[in-house]
Amino acid sequence: MIYLAELTGNVEVIGKGLMLGAGMIGPGIGVGLIGNAFMNAVGRNPESAKFLGQIMVFVAIVELMALLVFASLFIIK
């Protein structure tokens, strides 16, 4: 079998690196947007600082995606 291009060496490291790098983009943007919205709201209305608990819940929801990526780092062989 003739390959057009062949990857030799430690392919696992490249794959894991790509997975970690690409997978963290989404959650990073998501947590940034949540923080942005929260700081905007606090800037407009300082009373809304009491919603920090709810913000943590939303951060946890977004964070799940990042954690899935990080866990698959150890699960995939």
């Binding site: 430690n10 696992e12 490291v13 894991k16 608990g53 943590m56 819940v57 946890a60 929801i61 964070e63 799940l64 954690l67 899935l68 990080f70 866990a71 780092l73 150890f74 699960i75």
Partner: protein
């Protein structure tokens, strides 16, 4: 494992899954469920003593911590469900699950866990919440309790109408209802995976940084240990918060149609005018 940190050593000890440590009558007992039993016994003793020793003017000690946690959960329920009466009604279950998860997470940070004690080269203890089976069981019980509370609150037919709301002749109602039922399964797995991944990855991060620090391991691992103490309580809060949100969605105005809502609105507006 030395692919991650090509230092040439064996790498940090990383466990994603629990490992069986002994057998009782053909049932394999894993280290996580074993530690879960220890935590449960500890929690039962703590809550039992706290229930006896709680007073109007607490003298401090752990009883006060238990009271603060209980009050915190009651407040959270009150904000979500609307009234303190309902909050006190549902508080026992949610307080119990909050303390169980928080205590499992916090006791999971003790240095006796991990490679400190081993049985057949497996760690003897593992936090109950760092096991997908454990968190799946916790979320399954929580969502089953939500269904039970909702059926008890509004009756089985009205609870089903919550899923299949609208005209029953319209086939779109059934599609939306099946989608709603599927969302319950998604909730189950998202609750379980969130708790499991947060705690398991916290363990891994501590172990990785203790390994990278070599002789300075206490200094490098300490900030992450402190972070994990916060995450432990925060994850218990998030678990309870999301379950309470599902409960409040399930029992809130489960069968108020638009017409009734308009009537209520007109009624309240009229009473406000009369008050003026």
């Amino acid at each position: 494992m030395n692919l991650l940190f090509s230092a040439g050593d064996i790498g940090p000890p990383v466990h994603i899954t629990p490992s069986p440590i002994f057998e009782i009558a053909g049932w394999q007992i894993s280290n996580s469920i074993f530690y879960g039993w220890i935590v449960s016994i500890f929690l039962i003793i703590i809550l039992f003593v706290a229930s006896i020793r709680s007073a109007i003017h607490p003298k401090g000690g752990f009883v006060q911590i238990v009271e603060t946690g209980t009050e915190f959960i009651v407040d959270l329920l009150k904000n979500s469900l609307g009234s303190r009466l309902k909050a006190v009604k549902y508080a026992p279950y949610f307080t119990a699950i909050f303390f169980f998860i928080a205590l499992s997470n916090l006791l999971g940070l003790l240095p006796i866990l991990g490679e400190a004690f081993t049985i057949h080269e497996n760690p003897a203890f593992r936090p109950f919440t760092a096991d997908l089976n454990g968190t799946l069981a916790a979320s399954l019980v929580s969502l089953a309790m939500v269904q039970y509370f909702a059926i008890k609150e509004s009756g089985p037919i009205r609870h089903l109408k919550h899923y299949f709301s609208g005209n029953l002749i319209n086939p779109l109602t059934y599609i939306a209802g099946i989608y709603e039922l599927f969302a319950e399964v998604v909730r189950l797995f998202s609750l379980a995976l969130r708790l499991f991944l947060n705690i398991a990855i916290g363990e891994i991060i501590i172990s990785v940084f203790a390994y990278l620090g070599k002789f300075a391991a206490p200094i490098t691992a300490l900030p992450f240990l402190a972070l994990e103490v916060g995450v432990a309580v925060l994850q218990a809060y998030i678990f309870v918060m999301l379950t309470v949100t599902y409960l409040s969605l399930a029992i809130k105005h489960s069968d108020t149609s638009d017409h009734e809502f308009e009537e209520k609105l007109v009624h309240t507006m009229q009473s406000q005018k009369l008050a003026k």
